[in-house]
Symmetry: C2
Subunit: 234 residues, 2 copies
Amino acid sequence: MAYEFYYWPSIQGRGEFVRLALEDAGAEYADVARTPGSMGRMAALLDGPHRPPFAPPFLKDGNVVIGQTSAILLYLGGRLGLAPDDEPGRLWVHQIQLTIADVVAEAHDTHHPVSAELYYEDQKPEAARRARHFRETRIPAFLDWFERILAGNGSGTLAGPDVTYADLSLFQLVEGLRYAFPKATARATARTPRVTALHDAVAERPRLRAYLASDRRLPFSEEGIFRCYAELDG
Amino acid sequence: MAYEFYYWPSIQGRGEFVRLALEDAGAEYADVARTPGSMGRMAALLDGPHRPPFAPPFLKDGNVVIGQTSAILLYLGGRLGLAPDDEPGRLWVHQIQLTIADVVAEAHDTHHPVSAELYYEDQKPEAARRARHFRETRIPAFLDWFERILAGNGSGTLAGPDVTYADLSLFQLVEGLRYAFPKATARATARTPRVTALHDAVAERPRLRAYLASDRRLPFSEEGIFRCYAELDG
């Protein structure tokens, strides 16, 4: 039975980390909310009595509903062949994913440092201050951490010899940072050649290359998590 | 062999969610960085070449080092008898923990909305705005979600018939919110009697009651994640 995936239909957002894993594995899945008239099914599960996720994205596999991007990938990793077999290896990949989720949350808050319920235009002074710290301190700190992991692992991937969902997620993180903070990200990745090489290798994986060129891949936009506001790139 | 737990020695912070699980289970563990002269061991693992966590807290169990609070609890849950046996149950408890981690991050950012590297005093106007939205919108939204889960589960716990680490974590979240936002939390919990009842029941668990009365339980303070600044409570 195909996986049912639920996320906002017009943005990459947090859901894109799940889409990339499903696409890379060639998994059968329905991106439910992108089917016209299907937003009600997403709302029904969020409002439901049985283990309702707090927010999209979530995955439905038969009777199992799983929210939180990192938990979805934890569930899918072994099933899609995108995680190690051993428990320490799976936890390590999960730990990397959780840290990527932290970067994503911080990237979001550069344009919404006060509240997600206000427009960016209503919190621009706060955004300018937060974005400066994010691009000067946090982007380098996180990318340096990934670079150190890649140097230690030695195989061009973050964990073990094979590609995992964490590698796909790091690709997406670099994509997003480049879109939102092109100048700051270029400065940071100039010091992290292994991160850049991993990004480029992931983009060339056959199924992902086809996906990225398809209309299933939504464009980045100023509705999503990674937003390009030139004034926030310094 | 005893677990080795690593976290900043003077605050509850994110580490407290792990401490509560270890204490409730009566597990043998060393709170390493609280031993005089042991901060260097924490730094060595963070700077190490093999699977370094991005930040504390982390747990060392033999040769396995696990960072990220939620991943630590995922690892410990079954071992400590604080998680369901079945995979969907474990994922559900983990999903709740990840959502609690989201609240914790948002609570932190009420006093540090610009940067964790600046003092609160250097970001007070931004903090005032962010805190208002957090206490008026986010605290009620999250607590209502927990209340809905408790109503659906029906046994006074968040998942299944038995207490899990997510229940202990919800106790700690309520403690922290009450410390940091006493007025706003009182308003929100007036609508969530099941959350309050769970909080009170967890506090009465024998091992936790002893822990909470001991000097192993660090006090809340304005160095931690939950900080009591009257002006942020409206």
